[in-house]
């Protein structure tokens, strides 16, 4: 509670010896929850109270991480989604702020999303969802890493080691920009940076046998609408095959999915493609895992990771 009572103020122009006239009383105020996206330090408020799943979204700048978070919220704004029902959020104010550039009130001719700065990186958006299948509520914390931080992770081991939030996450979601897959000048770089970031995270132990990793090909609507979209689809299939061969054995779970978080012409509902993922984000914890299968093949390039796995085993 913040007391806002104003103290007595000297009367303007009055004699310094004259008794001060009390200012009109200002009612005291009570602070309400901020409602903004949570700082990392605030997460225990939710995590300490009820079982909570943490989903970390990574990917290069403009790959659609924040748009994906906003689109899930927008989907609930119009209907129950993926068998889940909206039951509350401690970050409604933050969701609304983050969704602004996609709304008519922004005055923009086409929807946009505010770029996540390094300062805003790792902020957490909260959803409380009711799951009819198991008749229980789930707390979900969705957090996105800024493109800048993502680039640092790709470039520097030390930056990667600081990302302990990924090691603690129940799910790590890596976005691959579908727009880049369409462009023959950019697609190989998109594949390489995905490969590099996964390898970096594995070698530093940020991802491991408890990790559940989803690789999402974002902006899939662009590929679907492209007359030459089959080329991008084939390339995405190749990327999936190669990443699965190289990394799936080191994670508790690895999935791939094409998504359209927000189609600018509105011809697809928000968060299309996420319906198959969201229930498992809610239900599956990194603390509940299957025994990973380790193969000798493909491990030769991941010596540091091997040592980490051995240490854990």
């Amino acid at each position: 509670m913040s007391a806002g009572n104003a103290g007595p103020l000297p009367q303007a122009g009055g004699s310094p010896d004259a008794p001060a006239t009390p200012a009109p009383p200002t009612p005291s105020t009570v602070d309400l929850p901020r409602g903004e996206a949570l700082e990392l330090s605030e997460a225990p408020i939710i995590m300490g109270a009820t079982p909570t799943r943490v989903v970390v979204l990574g990917g290069p700048h403009d790959s659609g991480k924040t748009t994906l978070i906003c689109s899930i919220y927008e989907r609930f704004r119009r209907e129950p989604f993926a068998g889940l029902v909206f039951s509350g959020s401690r970050t409604l104010f933050g969701f609304e702020r983050a969704s602004h550039l996609g709304r008519c009130a922004s005055g923009l001719p086409s929807p946009e999303t505010e770029r996540t700065s390094l300062k805003m990186s790792r902020r957490m958006f909260h959803l409380r969802l009711y799951d009819g299948n198991c008749s229980s509520h789930h707390n979900l914390l969705l957090t996105d890493l800024s493109g800048e931080e993502f680039e640092n992770v790709r470039n520097y081991t030390d930056a990667c080691r600081e990302l302990t939030i990924i090691a603690r996450a129940d799910h790590f979601v890596l976005l691959v920009d579908g727009k880049k897959l369409q462009d023959i000048a950019l697609r190989q770089q998109a594949r390489d940076e995905t490969d590099t970031i996964l390898r970096r995270l594995v070698e530093t132990g940020m991802l491991g046998i408890r990790s559940r990793v989803d690789i999402l090909f974002s902006k899939w609507d662009l590929i679907e609408q492209d007359p030459a979209g089959s080329r991008a689809k084939d390339f995405a299939a190749t990327v999936e095959t190669q990443l699965r061969e190289r990394f799936a054995q080191y994670f508790a779970k690895m999935r791939f999915a094409p998504i359209t978080a927000r189609r600018p012409d509105g011809l697809a509902p928000p968060a299309s493609g996420v319906e198959g993922l969201l229930p498992s984000w809610c239900r599956e914890s990194r603390l509940v895992q299957r025994v990973p299968k380790f193969s000798v093949e493909g491990k030769s390039n991941l010596r540091e990771f091997d040592r980490f796995v051995d240490m854990v085993r």
Binding site: L32, R77, C104
Partner: protein, 293 residues
């Protein structure tokens, strides 16, 4: 005979019919000849506010806007003729702007805090024309495509003169109504009030506007305010919801013919239209009867 006490918050954004509802409700409960309807045991000592709003309602006048920051405290002792249960009910009438400020400023004053912490129920007011006033650009684009009236810019972009480089800054007061209402309820069932369980009666006001559509109040809420409906119905441990459609003044008073028709009613209570969640006719005290039961 049993007697209880209860403070019932009237929550709603501006012009959602809170005061009109209270005026019509007061008119009904101070008379004793309406079957199952609640009635007052005795007139309260201070009737200045209730008389003022009731007079305006009887004259078919639009209620004066409640001044922001001012709380009109309408107290009355209500009796349920069926159960003989008596309740000392308090209905604080606060301006809709104040509720908007609670959301936007993330604080409320200590006077309201006391009321909120002692509340035993909530009446949540929604005007059907303010169901959700925050459209997505993508949804507008889709609607334009369906109507085959494409435009280069969304209407607010055209009005504001904004360009792609200069978005209009975010204004929390323009957030969707249903989102604001959810947060206002979360202040009650969560911090700072932490009510373990709360009855929430949703009043869709100006129901005469909705009746032209073949929807019942529950169905209307589910489809038109989807996320609020989800919130209300998925928290049975902490929220017990119900919904009514209410036309407390009976029609649009700005329309001369409608106003005359309403004023010609021999008995003012016949202006009021109330339907329960499934569309069955009811009386204006039914929502309160449910709330104080």
């Amino acid at each position: 005979m049993t007697t209880t006490e209860g403070c019932h918050l009237l929550i709603g954004l501006p012009a959602t019919g809170k005061t009109t509802f209270l005026a019509a409700f007061w008119y009904v409960v101070k008379r004793t000849s309406y079957g199952r309807a609640l009635h007052v045991d005795a007139l309260p000592d201070n009737l200045e506010y209730l008389n003022r709003i009731c007079d305006a309602w009887l004259k078919g006048e639009t209620q004066e806007r409640t001044i922001r920051g001012r709380v009109h405290r309408a107290a009355m002792r209500l009796r349920n003729p069926e159960t003989n249960h008596s309740c000392e009910a308090v209905f604080p009438d606060l301006s809709g702007e104040s509720f908007g400020q609670h959301w936007a400023q993330r604080q409320w004053d200590t006077n309201y805090d006391t009321l909120a912490r002692t509340a035993s129920g909530v009446v949540l007011f929604i005007h059907p024309k303010r169901k959700d006033d925050s459209y997505n650009i993508a949804d507008v684009a889709r609607a334009e495509a369906i109507l085959r009236e494409p435009s280069d810019r969304n209407p607010e972009a055209a009005a504001s003169g904004a360009t792609a480089q200069e978005p209009v800054p975010w204004d929390p007061l323009k957030a969707p109504t249903q989102v604001v209402l959810i947060d206002l309820l979360q202040f009650l069932v969560g911090e700072p009030c932490c009510h373990p369980r709360l009855r929430v009666c949703v009043i869709v006001s100006a129901w005469d506007l909705v009746e032209k559509q073949p929807k019942m109040p529950k169905r209307w809420l589910e489809t038109e305010m989807a996320i609020l409906y989800q919130f209300l119905t998925s928290n049975p441990q902490i929220i017990e919801p119900c919904v009514y459609g209410v036309s407390a003044q009976g029609g649009d008073l700005a329309d001369g013919q409608t106003r005359e028709r309403l004023l010609l009613e021999a008995e003012p209570v016949n202006r009021i239209r109330v339907v329960d969640a499934d569309g069955q006719a009811s009386d204006i005290t039914e929502p309160m009867r449910w709330l104080i039961a």
